[in-house]
Structures are given as structure tokens and as C-alpha cells.
């Protein structure tokens, strides 16, 4: 019965007419680069970007014409980054498994997390801001204490298919991960125990987030987004390419999805409908971030960073 309900809903959503399209309001060029990782500072004033040329840059969001500052250059691509709550430092993960905290804007390394053996694929901070979770191509999720850099928990994915994405639940008690074997796993954030394995996606899970109410939202190469509530799961279909990243505003009303179809779609989570389609990217969207005030969404792609102001 549940499966039929999913199917009907998916078909309905797939048949919706295209919503209003919008070109970017700002383009920051990054010649010959893929922007792989983005994050905004907690106060929304700064944007940090990680690139496949190994650079981490920071720019002000207040002055669009201001040039970016180079924070640090690595010898391998930067694959993940996240601002720390103080807004004065970022944790950076790279292709070869390096995981460090760097001061801003100078880039001095102030903390090293030395455990991962392969590419850092994803990073997230706990809601309290005290713990860092890192996922890796070494198939492990590690929870670190940001106070002293100690690795508190190590969760093994249980297959060889990379931890591709992760998110803390709003209460901080659970961590959700996605993997290349099309699965989601829910982990107890205090014990590291695997609580549940969720199936349903037909291809690798590329992005996972929670909404403020605790619903788990996942995006996949199967081009769908699944919103899992306590009662039911809603499947959002509308992208013409693989989902690459997800973001959500603080109120939890608007969901943003980036895709290899070169668009960002804004979904109204109440109605489960596409509100807008953001266009203008010349290649796949690799990463997404919504500013804390919810007034703009920023995407990383080939050759640059795009910003759309939201109504």
C-alpha cells in the first residue's frame, strides 16, 4: 500500500509543469576549476570555497566585486569544508584524506585530524557545534571532539562503497549517512551503533540532510529526492539528471537540490512542489549552500560560483 502511494505521488510530481526559471544574480569566475565544496560563515558574511586545484578561498558576500582571498593551497583537490561556529576557522578535507582546521584568513593549520586513509567525502558539525563528523572513501565515518581533536567514534560503513554524505539529526542524537551501495544508514551518535538501514534509492545516495522537524531527506543519482517522515515517505521527482547536493533553509520550508542537469531546484516542502528552477550553470552543480538569512543560494560548478537571490 505504501509502495503504491509512493508511486502515485512520484508520478504526480514528475508531471508537474516547469516552475519559474531564474538566471544567477552573481557569477564569480574560477577559471579552469571545479568548485567542489562551499560553506558560509554562521553570520552569513563570508563564503569559503574548495576547488579541485587544491585551493581554499574566502570571499565576502557583502561586496560582490571584492576579490577572494586565498586561505590555503593543497597539492590535491579540496573535497569538503565546513565553517566552525566561531566563524574564524574552517575544517578542510582533501582528496588524499588530509583533514585539518585552518585559521581565517591566514590559513594557519591549528588542528589536525589524522585517521582517514582516503578522500574526505563529506563533513558536518553537530548541532551543538562541539563535534565534527567526517565521512571518507575509506568507508568510515568518524566523530571528532573539536576541543582536543580526539576521535570519539568510528563507524564502519560495512561495505567498500564510500561514505558519500552525512548529516546530524536536529537533536544531535543520530547521524545519517549515504553510500555508493544505494543505502542510507542511521547511527546512534553517542554509541556509534548502526540503528537502521534504509533502502529505496535505486542508485548511489549523494546527499542527505534533516529538516528542522527531524524528517530525513536524501538525494540520489536515481534523480529523486526522498523525504522520510514518521508516517510516510514522499518522493520528489523533477530533475533530469543525478542529484548532487541538497540544502534547506532554517525554517525548513524550502528545500534546494543541485543536479547534474545543471539546475538548482527549489522545492516547497509543504506542497512537495517545485517552486523555482534556477538555471545558468554551464556544467553540473557540485555543491550548494543557503545563506543563514535564507536570502540567497550559492552553488559551485565548473568554472565558478553562482549566486541566486531569493524572493
Amino acid at each position: 500500500m505504501m509502495a503504491v502511494r509512493h508511486l502515485v505521488l512520484s508520478l504526480m510530481l514528475a508531471c508537474l509543469p516547469s516552475a519559474e526559471a531564474a538566471e544567477p544574480d552573481q557569477r564569480w569566475k574560477c577559471e579552469n576549476q571545479w568548485i567542489i565544496a562551499l560553506d558560509t560563515s554562521p553570520d552569513g558574511k563570508w563564503l569559503a570555497a574548495g576547488s579541485d586545484d587544491g585551493s581554499v578561498t574566502i570571499r565576502t558576500l557583502a561586496d560582490e566585486a571584492a576579490p577572494p582571498a586565498l586561505v590555503k593551497r593543497f597539492s590535491v583537490p579540496v573535497t569538503a569544508l565546513v565553517f566552525l561556529p566561531d566563524g574564524k576557522s574552517v575544517v578542510i578535507g582533501t582528496w588524499d584524506g588530509t583533514l585539518v582546521t585552518c585559521e581565517l584568513p591566514g590559513g594557519k593549520v591549528i588542528q589536525k585530524f589524522e585517521e582517514h586513509r582516503e578522500t574526505i567525502t563529506t563533513l558536518a558539525l553537530s548541532p551543538c557545534g562541539k563535534f565534527l563528523a567526517s565521512g571518507s572513501a575509506d568507508d568510515r565515518l568518524i566523530v571528532w571532539d573539536l576541543a582536543d581533536g580526539e576521535d570519539l567514534l568510528t563507524m564502519h560503513q560495512g561495505n567498500e562503497y564510500d561514505v558519500t554524505t552525512l548529516a546530524f539529526s536536529p537533536d544531535g542524537e543520530s547521524i545519517a549517512t549515504g553510500d555508493g551501495e544505494n543505502q542510507l544508514k542511521i547511527w546512534d551518535a553517542s554509541t556509534g551503533e548502526a540503528v537502521e538501514t534504509l533502502k529505496g534509492h535505486q542508485k548511489p545516495v549523494s546527499a542527505v540532510i534533516y529538516d528542522p522537524g527531524g524528517r530525513l531527506i536524501s538525494g540520489s543519482w536515481d534523480r529523486t529526492i526522498r523525504v522520510r517522515g514518521k508516517e510516510n515517505t514522499v518522493t520528489l521527482a523533477g530533475h533530469a539528471g543525478e542529484i548532487t547536493d541538497l540544502a534547506i533553509d532554517r525554517k525548513g520550508t524550502r528545500l534546494f537540490s543541485g543536479s547534474e542537469d545543471r539546475t538548482v531546484k527549489i522545492w516547497n516542502l509543504k506542497s512537495a512542489k517545485i517552486a523555482r528552477t534556477l538555471t545558468g550553470a554551464s556544467a553540473s552543480i557540485r555543491c550548494l549552500v543557503v545563506t543563514p538569512d535564507g536570502r540567497s543560494v550559492v552553488a559551485g560548478t565548473k568554472g565558478g560560483i553562482l549566486r541566486w537571490n531569493l524572493k
Binding site: I36, P77, E118, A137, E160, W221, K302
Partner: protein
């Protein structure tokens, strides 16, 4: 100083210089059989290409001897007459899809026929190992990671995984008898102990067998057979231990990669050990899983991504995105083409080495069958294998051609049977084989 112990380093010491010398013929040496005046046996090395391939650059359009090689095979141009490209073979009964292709690449077993339980059968390299001895090691399983499951290609007669290793020093230390006299004595004592344990176990099992029904007796007989095989291997090993470590240029064996996490470094080090193992006749059978379906994320990938304009992805993602029919000019597809070329570059290097080693007649390459291939053209597709067969001129292979069979006309098991028979293994069937592939025989 014998030719086989003549090293580049010894020359340098002699001149008191620190300049590197070019490789000289005298350094390349001979096989054990050539040194002792015997006849060289056949050898077999199987290499598995993970994920998928760039099919645009792999498959020639033409068949026969006048085919135009794709860019993937350009590194092999100097060996054109020593290899063939085989298209259209696959496992028919054992066709699977997903991430488990390494499990049955060399077995042909349908591991998906019992959902939830992974069963398997013997891999053809182990059939070869059974007949191509005795050697110090019956076979050698190499991989990108140490372990079982998808990291190894070899399964024993019960279908159980034979652990593979990625540790160069461990390979080296396991490959040769200890050089030290006391360690050699210790090794022989361990064999004696193992033999006595087997004797005890075998006696108990034989007593038990008399009390069992027919079905259980068959199972116990299988068990006894495996004990007898181990006993024979211990005897063989003991006999070889008496000769001690063979004479070879130990100082120049490279066991530490120069680069961190480089695919090329890893493959070159492993393939050098393969050449050494064959030259010293410590083993005659090697399998090598060249990578995982989802890793490692070798350091070459970001470089290739920059060269092709592909986004930075994990290995698993490249296998998916770089295969299929997205066009030969798709950046991800071009990237997988670069990886395929690297495999061929390493294979060409191995062939150079084997060709430079003199055998009892011809070269070591002439007595070695090299098979490099995978189970998937597109990621998860198991319906047609990209296969390349090289070497083995003295074993009766006819190379320099592209042979294409229609889908499901012939199976990979037919190729495996053909290889086994050319290696003089007394087998008439392997898995779903219908007979040998006469097209590749001289």
C-alpha cells in the same frame, strides 16, 4: 659472478661511481630452467580491470589481423604480434550485475543463484596451480588491498576465497625460502609440525568416515582430498626448501613505492614481483586484482580529471560516469580511457621484462600466458567482457589479432579451458565450457 646475480648496483660499486647505468642484457638473466638446462614450464598471470572501461578506445572496429588498435592499446604497439584482443566473451550462466564481479570473474559461477548466500566454485587459476607445480608457492594472489571477498580473484576447490595481499614486502618474504640458515631450519621444522597435525587430523577423519552415511562420506572424502592436497604441497615446499633461496639480484628488488598512493607505482612494483616470481620459478600462477569497484582513490585520478576537464569524483563514481554510452569525448569517459591506458602501459612493461628473460627456448614471455580483462564494459553490465590475451607463443597461442564472437556464442569459460589446456593441464572442461577457442591457437 653469474649473469643472474649481476646487478646494476654491483657495477656502480665496481666503478666507485653514483651514476645510474642503462639496463644491460646481462642483468636481465635467465629462467631457472634455462640456467639449469631444463625445459621451461608454462606460467599464468590473470589481471582484473575493475569497474568498467572506455569502450570507445578499447574495441577495434575491424576483426582479424589487420585491425587498427584503439588508443587504449597504443602502449602495447611494440608487442603487436604478442597479444590479441578478444571480444564477446562473458559468463553466460554466471552472468551477474552489480559490484560483485571480482567474485566470479575467474570462476564463472552464478553467485546470485542463492539470494542472501554467496556460494562460489573453483577459479581457473587454481585449476592451473594444481597442475603447474610443484613450486614453492602454488600460486600468488595480489591485490590493491589485503583480504578476501572482492579483493581477491582466487577461489579454492571448495569455492572458498584465497586471501590476496597488497603488501610488497610480504609478497617478497612469502615468495622465497629464508636466506638465513637458522630461519631455513625453522621453516622446515614448521612444515614437519604441520605435517604431523595433518597426519593426526587425517587419521581421525578416516576413522569417522567409516561410521557415516553416503552423503556425509562424500563430504568427508572432499575434506580428505583437501588434506591430501595440503600434504602434497608441504612435501613440495620441503623439497624446494632443501635447495634454499635461488640466486637473484635481491638488492635491486624494489619494495617501497616512490610516490604516495600512486596506481602506477603500485602496479609496477607488483608486476616486477610477478616477473621475479616467474623467473625464479617460485610460483607459476598469479592473480592480480588491479583495483576495487569503489577504490582506492589513487593520486592519478585528480591529474586525469584536470587533463580531461572531468569533475573530481571518487573511483566508484568514475567507474559509473566514465563508462556507458556518454560519448568518447565525455570528460569522465576520457578519464577512464587514461586509466585503461595506464593498465596497458604497465602490461607492456611487464611484457618487456618477460621478453628480456631468456627461457630454455625463446623468452619467458613465450612460456607465460597473460590475461588482462574485466567483467564490465559499462558499470554493472556483465554481458560482454573486455579481454586481452598476451604471451604464450611457445604454449601455442596465435596473436596479433582481434577476435570477436557473437553475444553468448562462446563463454569466458571456453577461454579459460583453452588456456588451461595450452598450459598442459589435463582438463577437458571448465564450468560452462563447450570446447577450446581454436581461433586463438596456432
Amino acid at each position: 659472478m653469474t649473469s643472474s646475480s649481476f646487478s646494476r648496483r654491483s657495477v656502480l660499486r665496481g666503478f666507485g661511481a653514483t651514476l645510474a647505468l642503462p639496463a644491460l642484457e646481462i642483468m636481465t638473466g635467465k629462467t631457472q630452467a634455462a640456467t639449469r638446462g631444463g625445459t621451461d614450464p608454462g606460467r599464468l598471470a590473470c589481471f582484473y580491470i575493475p569497474g568498467a572501461i572506455n569502450h570507445y578506445n578499447w574495441f577495434p572496429k575491424e576483426t582479424g589481423f589487420d585491425y587498427t588498435a584503439g588508443t587504449t592499446h597504443e602502449p602495447l604497439k611494440d608487442h603487436r604480434e604478442r597479444y590479441s584482443i578478444l571480444s564477446g566473451l562473458s559468463h553466460i550462466e554466471g552472468r551477474i550485475s552489480g559490484h560483485k564481479h571480482p567474485y566470479n570473474f575467474l570462476t564463472g559461477h552464478n553467485i546470485a543463484e542463492t539470494p542472501g548466500v554467496l556460494t562460489n566454485s573453483v577459479s581457473f587459476d587454481q585449476v592451473a596451480a594444481k597442475h603447474l607445480g610443484p613450486t614453492y608457492l602454488p600460486s600468488l594472489a595480489l591485490s590493491w588491498n589485503s583480504g578476501v571477498g572482492a579483493t581477491t580473484l582466487s577461489r579454492n576447490s571448495l569455492g572458498v576465497d584465497i586471501p590476496a595481499t597488497s603488501d610488497y614486502r610480504r609478497v617478497f618474504e612469502n615468495l622465497f625460502p629464508p636466506a638465513d640458515a637458522s630461519q631455513l631450519r625453522g621453516a622446515r621444522e614448521r612444515i614437519a609440525l604441520n605435517r604431523s597435525i595433518l597426519d593426526t587430523a587425517g587419521g581421525d577423519v578416516r576413522a569417522l568416515k567409516r561410521k557415516l552415511g553416503v552423503a556425509d562420506r562424500d563430504r568427508i572424502e572432499q575434506y580428505l582430498q583437501s588434506i591430501r592436497e595440503v600434504e602434497k604441497r608441504l612435501d613440495d615446499r620441503d623439497a624446494i626448501l632443501k635447495h634454499g633461496r635461488p640466486d637473484f639480484d635481491e638488492e635491486n628488488v624494489r619494495l617501497v613505492p616512490a610516490g604516495k598512493n600512486s596506481m602506477q607505482e603500485h602496479l609496477e612494483l607488483m608486476m616486477d614481483l610477478v616477473a621475479l616470481a616467474f623467473q625464479t620459478d617460485m610460483t607459476r600462477v598469479v592473480t592480480h586484482c588491479l583495483g576495487g569497484e569503489a577504490g582506492p582513490n589513487y593520486s592519478e585520478y585528480p591529474e586525469w580529471a584536470k587533463e580531461t576537464g572531468a569533475p573530481t569524483r571518487g573511483t566508484h563514481d568514475y567507474h559509473h560516469k566514465g563508462s556507458g554510452n556518454r560519448g568518447g569525448d565525455n570528460p569522465d569517459t576520457m578519464l577512464i580511457g587514461k586509466r585503461d591506458r595506464l593498465f596497458m602501459t604497465c602490461l607492456a612493461r611487464l611484457m618487456d621484462k618477460l621478453e628480456s628473460i631468456k627461457a630454455s627456448d625463446g623468452s619467458l614471455l613465450d612460456h607465460t600466458t597473460l590475461m588482462m580483462g574485466g567483467s564490465q564494459i559499462s558499470s554493472h553490465s556483465g554481458s560482454s567482457f573486455p579481454m586481452l590475451l598476451a604471451g604464450g607463443k611457445k604454449l601455442g597461442f596465435k596473436h596479433g589479432q582481434h577476435v570477436r564472437w557473437e553475444k553468448d556464442e562462446r563463454s569466458a569459460s571456453d577461454l579459460y579451458l583453452t588456456i588451461l589446456q595450452q598450459l598442459r593441464c589435463p582438463v577437458e572442461k571448465f564450468k560452462e565450457s563447450k570446447g577450446d577457442l581454436s581461433e586463438i591457437l596456432a
